[in-house]
Symmetry: C2
């Protein structure tokens, strides 16, 4: 079968489109004929060696939709979460490393990770959903406890998780504010229902503008650094800040607003099987369509990864898999 | 009446023992004959001008126990918390600034702030309880959700809140680890039920020693800075870190352990009327006796404040009020 494998650590350019043997499903597993896959930052980080447990060569890809057992399906990429809703087991993994992933014509996954594709979605749209969708769902609802009528701040809109968070929060009846370094991304977010946008490149005092604009009940952030530190000073007393990533590493935070305003900071990562099932029900009930940035053919995976590595995208970068 | 007033911003030495007119209770207020009062860091910070809304001259003191309406009572120092358990109203204040406090023979407080003194406590012990007790109670139980059998880390044991947290957590059936820069304080904590102590002055890698010792379910910290940052790396996945102060200001934190381990950081400050009532029930049910560092006569309030300012104490510093 055709597949995209990583043979050595280096960068997006080290993704190789080639012929490999199709996987042999083990007991309890299902062979999925992949019709579309999608990129996550995780895939790029893996090409750069920024992930634990890297084994090579390996087919990358956590997100996929296709056909299995006569049905149209998509795949929950979280393997072995375990019984505790709060945390995954130490040996839990994500499809696409160390186990072969979805950037291929076939992928083998445990039966319980295969879900019916929401009928309103194409394969490409469904492939855009899994990892970013469940991460956004857990951050917003399971961990963030977002409620109708609340005001949400999403920092650095543009990536997959942020665009799902925007779509989900608008569907849930929240008022959504977004930040970005790009006016074009702010306009696209507005078209998807964002109430207001703030350009942190052109307005260094963006946190003050947001504070003046509206009391913020909850902020979700994966930038870390100054964006996270400022989010703590922006949310209202009793508010929540959900962190689901830290691209910029350390954050120098002031503790006074955290304890004085009785703020919650909630770390969130990926999502449990229950989160995944709830996310699918939510997407179906609200007929949510993922924001797709571009679709590349599978053989151009390296070019797609390079685009992701430049953070130029708005929404998900999808791979069309030849049948 | 005799009272201790602050006439100008400067430091603990500016507390003046003098004669003043006794307070006239307004409608809905009760005149309490104070038998004992106690210091909080807040009082020292006020002498140094480190608090908002300072009006002078003013009788300081948030903690007091005495007699009112023929009963032995203690006073809840939080005035006007409001209806939301999560946060106080913006106009809520604490007894002792801007309103005259307990460092006097009489104090006038709203009726609903007067509670029966737990019968197993002396006036001096009861006076030690209010602000530090309710702060510890809320941080541990309301915000921290400490449960029996869990392992708790208290950073920088010695102050009033930390010693109450230790007493309360041991009574609740938790296993308690403490840190301090003083072996003597660690020994006193052990005598009060702490399971293990770690000297952060003699062991710069104390966080590693704690990680190796036991999985920590919850940490509570008011030091901020490095202690707070390390607490985030010490608690187990799914664990909680409660921050109720930030003596050392900013903290440089790593976000990775927060989101990857799905940790909660919960800011906590003071306590609501419901917290105060629950704290009194808990103290009574477990017959908890506050750790008292020293008792000074009211006229030596300046010396007592100086001791507090040096952080030399273990437990509460109490003032005996002449009748």
């Amino acid at each position: 079968m055709k597949a995209v494998r990583l043979h050595k650590i280096g960068g997006p350019e080290d993704l190789v489109f080639e012929d490999v043997d199709p996987p042999q499903p083990a007991a309890g597993e299902v062979l999925v004929r992949v019709r579309a896959a999608a990129f996550n930052h995780r895939d790029v980080f893996i090409t750069q060696g920024l992930y634990p447990k890297i084994a090579l060569p390996r087919i990358l890809g956590s997100d996929g939709a296709g056909e299995a057992q006569g049905r149209e399906v998509l795949v929950d990429p979280l393997l072995g979460w375990g019984p505790d809703e709060r945390i995954w087991r130490p040996d839990a993994t994500i499809l696409g490393m160390p186990r072969d992933g979805t950037f291929a014509q076939f992928v083998s996954v445990p039966q319980q990770n295969v879900h019916p594709k929401p009928p309103h979605l194409s394969f490409q749209e469904a492939a855009a959903l899994p990892l970013a969708g469940v991460t956004a769902y857990r951050a917003l609802f399971t961990r963030g406890e977002l409620r109708e009528g609340e005001t949400l701040l999403i920092t650095g809109v543009g990536g997959g998780v942020q665009t799902f968070a925007l779509l989900f929060a608008v569907a849930a009846g929240a008022r959504v504010l977004v930040t970005s370094a790009s006016d074009e991304k702010l306009e696209r977010a507005a078209a998807m229902g964002a109430h207001a946008g703030f350009n942190y490149r052109t307005d260094p005092e963006w946190h003050k503008a947001i504070r003046a604009h509206a009391p913020i009940d909850i902020a979700i952030d994966s930038a870390g650094g100054e964006a996270f530190a400022r989010a703590l000073t922006i949310v209202r007393p009793g508010g929540r800040v959900v962190t689901y990533g830290g691209t910029h590493g350390e954050a120098a935070i002031k503790l006074f607003p955290v304890f004085w305003n009785q703020i919650d900071v909630r770390g969130s990562s990926m999502g449990s099987p229950a989160d995944f099932a709830a996310m699918l029900r939510f997407v179906q009930a609200h007929e949510i369509r993922p924001a797709i940035d571009r679709v590349y053919p599978l053989e151009e995976a390296a070019a797609a990864a390079a685009r992701m590595n430049q953070a130029a995208q708005f929404g998900k970068i999808v791979l069309d898999v030849p049948s």
